[in-house]
């Protein structure tokens, strides 16, 4: 039996083990779940070592002599102090670097990519030569303003302001409805993939 055929049978076995959960929780599902967690943890670490730590740290530091990399080496080592409660505070130094960088990335990314450019994209002409374009631009502008006003919770949603905020909720409901429709599409696609494997690759019923 070739490794490929063995692989298909192993994959089919684990697929059916996971699907058995639909009937009820059972030993085969738990077995597959634990094997999956173990294999994914081992996979993740092996990949980090082979794809990140070896080429970006260990080789340049110990083989090429780039001594500046002693800093991330020490910071990485400090992370492991979390395992010992008396010195776990040392791990904060490494975490602080990551938190600082990711906070900076969030400010730049959201500021330039989302805030400025998205507001710019919604500054649309409300009078054009095409009725449909004018109508669409009006809906986009009106919809955005009413939704943003709904998110303004510093003022009570009463009277005229409350009426506009309620229109904002309707636009948000349309957004959430569209998201739900697409979510259903996504989940069904994932099942189609597995069914295609079972009836196609494994059982050979689908050509």
């Amino acid at each position: 039996m070739s490794y490929e055929i063995l692989g298909v049978w192993v994959a089919a076995f684990f697929t059916l083990c996971i699907f058995s959960f639909l009937y009820r929780d059972n030993f085969f599902y738990k077995l597959a779940e634990h094997i999956f967690v173990g294999i994914s943890a081992g996979y993740g670490v092996a990949l980090q070592i082979e794809n990140v730590l070896k080429p970006n740290l260990l080789k340049p530091l110990f083989q090429e002599g780039k001594m500046i990399l002693i800093i991330p080496f020490i910071l990485s080592a400090l992370l492991f102090s979390r395992l010992y409660s008396k010195i776990s505070w040392l791990s904060r130094w490494a975490l602080a670097l990551l938190i600082g960088i990711f906070s900076g990335a969030a400010i730049i990314g959201f500021g330039s990519g989302d805030l400025v450019l998205q507001i710019n994209a919604n500054l649309l002409p409300l009078k054009t030569n095409s009725f449909l374009t004018t109508f669409n631009n009006f809906i986009l502008t009106f919809g955005l303003i009413t939704c943003l006003l709904y998110f303004f919770f510093s003022k009570e949603h009463k009277g005229g302001f409350g009426f506009i905020a309620r229109i904002g909720i309707y636009f948000l409901m349309i957004s959430f409805g569209a998201s739900f429709g697409y979510t259903v599409m996504s989940r069904m696609s994932l099942l189609i993939g597995r069914v295609y494997f079972i009836f196609g690759q494994w059982l050979g019923i689908i050509q």
Binding site: V52, G109, G113, L117, Y182, M188, S189, I192, G193
Partner: protein, 276 residues
């Protein structure tokens, strides 16, 4: 009728599971071949790649894992087909740990086996780097410093396709296949907005609605949403993959869900009227 709705309201969920399973299995075994047309965001994706001059270098970011394969693998294969037909040089990488072997398999199947391209000359798989947005910004400074070796362990300085590739200015387009975070949103925020480079996205259907603002603002030149997006793209590329084959099952599954929603609400209204 009342008894029927009472029975429906207490239906075992495993009966629902059986209906969903049949709605998907039967159309796959007995295809209905329902026709469909291509929408504008998908055409935008196709046109953006078509406009890249033949022989240029493109960045192919495979940011996905096995959980999203049925939606994203068909568009990965179709995108590779279009790019390889134009003899584009593909620099693949991944920001998801499970991405590199999936990208490697797709590249082997399409570039090596189907189009007889040479690894290292026509395409390369740089592998994975942890760090999400930080990796993207780091690549903006230097791709070789961020990825000193490829997925197979070869030094990037020794790979022919990587000669002259220092940062994003040296690639003509970024093709991103994205399953979530990190993915299209981060590529738009950290790379497209910063370096003003062309970006197209193929994503899961769950993420697609939130990327429509980026498509409208032209931060994304094209958008493939889920398996339907992959199916439409396969029409443009003239390829029959899982995308097109799965559409009948997708249609029937959606009809079943629609019927369940209607049935559930009818039962609810009927029992509410009765005062149960």
């Amino acid at each position: 009728m009342q008894k029927f709705f009472e029975f429906i309201s207490q239906l075992d969920r495993r009966i629902i599971f059986i209906f969903v399973a049949l709605a998907i299995i039967l159309p796959l075994i007995f295809p209905l071949n329902i026709k469909f047309t291509v929408t504008e965001p998908v055409r935008g994706f196709y046109d953006a790649i078509e406009k890249v001059p033949n022989g240029s270098k493109v960045l192919f970011a495979c940011d996905f894992e096995p959980g999203s394969l049925p939606e994203l693998y068909p568009m990965t294969y179709a995108a590779l087909e279009q790019m390889l037909k134009k003899d584009l040089k593909i620099i693949a990488l991944s920001l998801w740990p499970a991405g590199p072997p999936l990208a490697e398999k797709a590249l082997t199947d399409m570039a090596q086996n189907e189009f007889k391209k040479t690894y290292g000359v026509d395409y390369v798989n740089l592998g994975f780097k942890e760090g999400r947005e930080v990796v993207m910004v780091s690549m903006g400074s230097s791709i070789p410093n961020t990825f000193p070796q490829d997925y197979r362990g070869t030094k990037v300085s020794q790979i022919p396709i990587m000669q002259g590739v220092n940062n994003f200015k040296d690639v003509k387009l970024i093709v991103n296949i994205s399953a979530g975070y990190p993915g299209t949103k981060e590529w738009v925020q950290q790379v497209q907005a910063r370096y003003n480079i062309g970006l197209v996205s193929g994503c899961t259907a769950v993420s697609a609605p939130e990327y429509y603002p980026y498509y409208q603002s032209k931060q994304l030149l094209g958008l493939l949403g889920g398996m339907k997006g992959a199916a439409e793209y396969e029409i443009l590329v003239n390829r029959i993959g899982l995308g097109r084959r799965g559409m009948d099952a997708q249609s029937m599954a959606h009809v079943i869900i629609f019927l369940f929603i209607v049935l559930g609400n009818l039962a609810y209204l009927s029992l509410k009227k009765k005062g149960t």
